[in-house]
């Protein structure tokens, strides 16, 4: 819970006040925290691409949105990212559980893991790769950076960083 709490605290310090998620077991603690947080909006959504649209609307309405998802969700959302968030220069934080990284027990997750960073690089999305607790200290500044450059940004949280966060 310590890691999850720190991630949400640092996002909130960065001004993020609107959260969506497509669930992942590595995000479960953060979802629990957000469901009990009266200071911010939180909802589950069925699909990541739709979540990109809801985040765009939330930004138009003066919220600073974050969508939490597995890295597979990036694959579901490429056109929405390019033709909506980037076209209109909308800051949104992607908080990504980086499935398929070392420690992952499900082999099939390896495919998207191999290309996740390449996709984000191709999309020119700034990345913060968190593999240790210390990396989480950069989340607040990195989130604020999304607003400064008016762009979506991606925070990748490794499997091994999240798996023991009981």
């Amino acid at each position: 819970m310590k890691i999850s709490k720190k991630i949400i605290d640092n996002l909130k310090k960065g001004g993020v006040d609107f959260y969506l998620s497509v669930p992942c077991k590595l995000l479960a603690n953060m979802i629990d925290i957000l469901e009990n947080d009266k200071d911010v909006y939180y909802s589950a959504v069925p699909r990541e691409e739709e979540g990109m649209g809801i985040c765009a609307g939330a930004y138009l309405g003066n919220k600073f949105p974050c969508i939490m998802m597995q890295n597979t969700g990036i694959g579901n959302s490429v056109n929405a990212i390019v033709s909506l968030l980037q076209l209109y220069q909308m800051p949104v934080v992607f908080l990504i559980s980086y499935r398929g990284t070392p420690g992952e027990p499900v082999g099939a997750q390896g495919g998207m893991a191999k290309i996740t960073e390449n996709i984000l690089q191709t999309l020119r999305i700034p990345m913060l790769h968190c593999s240790s607790e210390k990396d989480l200290d950069r989340i607040t500044t990195f989130s604020k950076h999304a607003k400064v450059v008016e762009s979506p940004v991606a925070i990748l949280c490794d499997f091994n960083l999240m798996k023991d966060d009981k």
Partner: protein, 189 residues
């Protein structure tokens, strides 16, 4: 009645509310009829008008109308479940259902065959779902906006057909900033 005629008929309601307008001909026709700063024209991301409007209605208190099409809703049906569970009372989804993909050459959609968006919306959990003719749409939309306790999904059944029209000349940042200025967020314009 086709979409251009419908948009003409409802333009006075639209101009008093925040409008998210679907990509392609719906936005181009709305722009030609009566361009307003409180109209957010989609230039990409087909399917997401309903979702963008939902996010906007959750984030501020003004009335929001998402103008969507049958083809676009079929592309993003999962968001009807989100609307059915999360839409606040300042949200109205207006689905202009002409049974065709108008912007791509009027190919038939499944609503012209077996699919009922009304049944799908009800099954997804939307409580106030109205299916009406183009002629009835102005009245149904007025009632939905006046009802401060419920969100609405209105399915306006009209004929296919388009008018010849130019692309929208506005760039995306202009659309974004004048829209946010109307809400009161952007101060520098």
């Amino acid at each position: 009645m086709n979409r251009f005629e419908l948009l003409n008929k409802i333009q006075n309601i639209l101009k008093d509310n925040l409008v998210i307008c679907n990509i392609g001909l719906p936005s181009q026709e709305l722009y030609k009829i009566n361009d307003q700063p409180n109209f957010f024209y989609m230039l990409g991301s087909m399917g997401l008008s309903s979702s963008i409007g939902l996010g906007l209605s959750l984030s501020q208190t003004k009335q929001v109308i998402s103008i969507d099409g049958d083809g676009s809703v079929l592309m993003n049906m999962n968001t009807l479940a989100t609307i059915g569970n999360r839409a606040p009372s300042n949200y109205t989804l207006l689905i202009i259902d002409n049974g065709s993909y108008g912007s791509t050459g009027d190919q038939r959609t499944f609503t012209d065959e077996n699919t009922s968006l009304k049944d799908i919306a009800l099954g997804a959990g939307c409580k106030k779902v109205i299916e009406c003719s183009g002629e009835e749409t102005l009245n149904e939309l007025s009632k939905a906006i006046e009802d401060k306790n419920n969100s609405y999904v209105i399915i306006s059944k009209i004929n296919s057909g388009n008018v010849k029209i130019d692309p929208i000349p506005l760039n995306p940042i202009t659309i974004r900033d004048r829209f946010r200025k109307f809400i009161g967020i952007v101060k520098y314009l």
